[in-house]
Amino acid sequence: MRITGAQALVRSLEAEGVEVLFGYPGGVALPIFDALYESTTVRTVLPRHEQGAVHMADGYARVTGKPGVVLVTSGPGATNTVTGIANAYMDSIPMVVFTAQVATTVIGTDAFQESDITGITIPITKHNYLVKDVAELPEVIKEAFHIATTGRPGPVLIDVPVDVSRAELTFKYPETVNLSGYKPTVKGHAKQIKQAAGMIAKARKPLLYAGGGVLASGAWKELKELCELMQLPVVATLMGKGAFPEDHHLSLGMPGMHGPKYVNYAITETDLLIAVGVRFDDRVTGKLSSFASKSRIIHIDIDPAEIGKNKAVDVPVVGDAKGVLAELVVELRKMNAEPRTDAWMRVIDDWRSRYPLHYHPHDEVVMPQYVVERVRELTKDRPTVIVTEVGQNQMWACQYARIKEPRTWASSGGLGTMGFGLPAAIGAQFGRPGHLVIDIAGDGSIQMNSQEMATAAIEKQPVKVVLLNNGFLGMVRQWQELFYERRYSSSVLPPCPDFVKLAEAYGWLGLRVTDPKEVDAALNAAFDHDGPALIDFRVAPEECVFPMVAPGGSIDEMLGGIPGGPVSEMLDDELLEEVWE
C-alpha cells in the first residue's frame, strides 16, 4: 500500500515504540502533524516553545533510558531547538529530532522559514540527515534511532522537506541498519581488563570515579557489585548521580568545583583512580596537573576519543561499561581478590567527619541548603525524581539531595543550560508518571522557560517547582562577590514576577515561604497536591555555594566551607601509615 512520507514517519515512530513526542507545528510540518492525528500509540505533547520540547524529550530520556523524540517546523522552529540539542549532545542523551524543511525545490533560495538546520547542527549532533527522497525515509529513521541509542548516545536530527512528507512510498520499516562507518566498540579488551583487575586488587587507596556513562550503559548493578566486592569508595559526577546509591557508605559524593572537601581530598590522595563513563571535565578536575596526580588511572569508556583527551591514562579500556565492569568482577573473583581499603576508608571517614558540607542554619531566614535538605528528608520514602535548573540551585541540589536510584536525577551538566529544569521535569514526569518529580529551581533559570508551566497544567503533569528565590542570578552574583569586588553587574533580579500569582495564572498551586518554620508544611502541601505546584522560597539572598574550587585551581584547595587544605596538610599520619602497612 502506498502511504505518504508523513504517514511513513509516524509508522516508523510506532515501530520504534515511541510513546510520546514533543512537537510544535508550523507550515511545512503540517503533513506530519496531520499524520500524527491518526496515531493511537504516539502521544503528541504541545510545549509552548521549541526549546521546551527538546528539554522535555531530554528529561524523558534521562529518566527512562529511551530516546526522546521531538518534531518541529522549519526555520525558527528548527533554530529554537539548537540549545536543547547542544545540551543533549554535551550530556550524551539519546534523542531524535525531526525538523520539517521547505520543499526540496526551493532549498537554498532563502525561502520563507528556511534555515540550514543540518548545517547549523553538525557540531552539536551525533549525526544528522537531510532526506531528499521519500524512499530513504524509513531507513534514515531506523539509522537515526540506532545511532542515537547505541555506542555513546546522543542527539540525531532528521530534516524532512515538505514535499518529501507529501510524496508517496511503499512503506516497509527496515529491521537492520547497514552503517559501515559506525561500529562502536562494545566489548572491552580482555588483556586490558585483566591488567585493570590486577591493579584494583593491589591498590591500597583506590577510588572509583563514576559518570553519566554508567547510567547510559545501564551498568549500575555491575558498578555496585564491583565496589562492594572490593570495598571501593565512589565519587559520582553531576552526570553520574544515581549511578551508585548516595546513601551507601561507600558513596562519597560529587567531585570537583563544588564537591565536598573530603571528596576532592580523596581524589588528590588516591593511588588508583578507576574512571568509568566520565570525561575528566574541567569542572571536575580543576587544574589538570594536580588532579589525581599521585594516582595511576584506569579509564573505561565507550568513546575512544575520551581516552587521554584531557588526562593521560595508564590503562585504557574502550567498551561498554556494563560489560567491562561485569568482566572486571569475574576477573577479580578468579584471582580471589580481597578488599584492602579498610584503612583508606578510615582516612576518608576521618575527612568526612571533619570536613562535611556545611552551612549556617538560621531561625528567621530560609537557607537554600535547608530547603534541599528538607526535600531530601520529606521524600525519603517516596519514589522521587530530582531535576534542577542551572546555577546555585543546581549545586545545592547536587550537594544536599541524595539520589538513591539510577535515572531519577536530571540536570544539565556539560552545557549548563539555564531554563532546562522545568521542561525537563515535565518530560521526566511523562517518563515516570508514578514518581514525584521535583524541579529544584532558581528565580533566574526558571524564567528562561517558565512558559512551560502551561504545558504542565494542560497535560496534567503534576511537577513540583521548589524555587530558591534569592533575587539574584545567584551563581553570577557569587563569582562577582568573590572575583569582581562585589560589583553586581547585571545579576540583580528585582522581585518580578510574583511567582505565586504566576503559578496561579497557569492554574498551578502557588505558595510562598519566608519563614524557615513553614518549609515542611509548604513542601508537604505541594507534594500532596494533585497537580503542579510551585513554592516561592524567599531564601537568603547572598548565600554562596561552598566549598568552591577557584577556576583553574587545584581541587584540594577550596574556598569556603570548614577551613582546611590543601590535602598535604590534611593527612593524619597515623592513619596513613596503616594504609601502607
Binding site: I122, H127, S180, G181, D303, P304, A305, K309
Partner: protein, 165 residues
C-alpha cells in the same frame, strides 16, 4: 609536524563539511585538501595535509572516526607513502627566453600545455619539494599565475626495497 591524513568517507553530500569543520573547530589550518571518488563509487578519499601538535591531532583523528560517514583514517608515514601534487604555472616567456623555460620544464618532466604570445603554461606533477624547486627556478622569469591541487597520497605497497617513482 606535518601529517598527511588519508580519510576514506562515504560519497555523500555534506561529508566534506563535516570533516573540514572538525579541523576548524579545533583551530587547525588545513594546508592542503584533495577530494575524489575512489575505485568504489560509493566512497571518496579525502587527503588532508595538516600541521600541528601531535596530541591535538590525535584527538582530531579520533573525533573524525566518530563521524558516521567516515569509514577509515590513515595517518600516512611520509617514508611509506607515495604523494603527488599537480601545479599549473603560467610563466612570462618572451620569445628569446622561451627555450630556457622549456628546458626547465623538461628537467622536471613537466609538460607545456599552453603557449601564448608572451606566456607559456606548464603542467607539473610530483612531490611537494620537487614542485617547490621548480617554482623557485621559474620565479626568475616571472610567474603570472599559479594553481595547485591538494596533495593526494597512498600508502606504499609492503615489499622489500620498493623503488621510488
Amino acid at each position: 609536524m606535518q601529517h598527511t591524513l588519508s580519510v576514506l568517507v562515504e560519497n555523500k553530500p555534506g561529508v566534506l563539511t563535516r570533516v573540514a569543520s572538525l579541523f576548524a573547530r579545533r583551530g587547525f589550518n588545513i594546508d592542503s585538501l584533495a577530494v575524489g571518488v575512489t575505485e568504489d563509487p560509493s566512497l571518496s578519499r579525502i587527503t588532508i595535509v595538516v600541521g600541528g601538535d601531535d596530541v591535538r591531532l590525535e584527538q582530531v583523528a579520533k573525533q573524525l572516526h566518530k563521524l558516521i560517514n567516515v569509514i577509515k583514517i590513515q595517518d600516512l608515514d611520509p617514508r611509506e607513502m607515495v604523494d603527488r601534487e599537480l601545479v599549473l604555472f603560467k610563466v612570462n616567456a618572451p620569445a628569446d627566453r622561451r627555450h630556457e623555460i622549456i628546458e626547465i620544464a623538461n628537467v622536471f618532466r613537466a609538460k607545456i600545455v599552453d603557449v601564448g604570445k608572451n606566456t607559456v603554461t606548464i603542467e607539473a606533477t610530483g612531490a611537494g619539494d620537487k614542485l617547490a624547486a621548480m617554482e623557485d627556478l621559474l620565479r626568475a622569469y616571472g610567474i603570472k599565475e599559479l594553481a595547485r591541487t591538494g596533495k593526494i597520497a597512498l600508502s606504499r605497497a609492503l615489499r622489500e626495497g620498493a623503488a621510488t617513482a
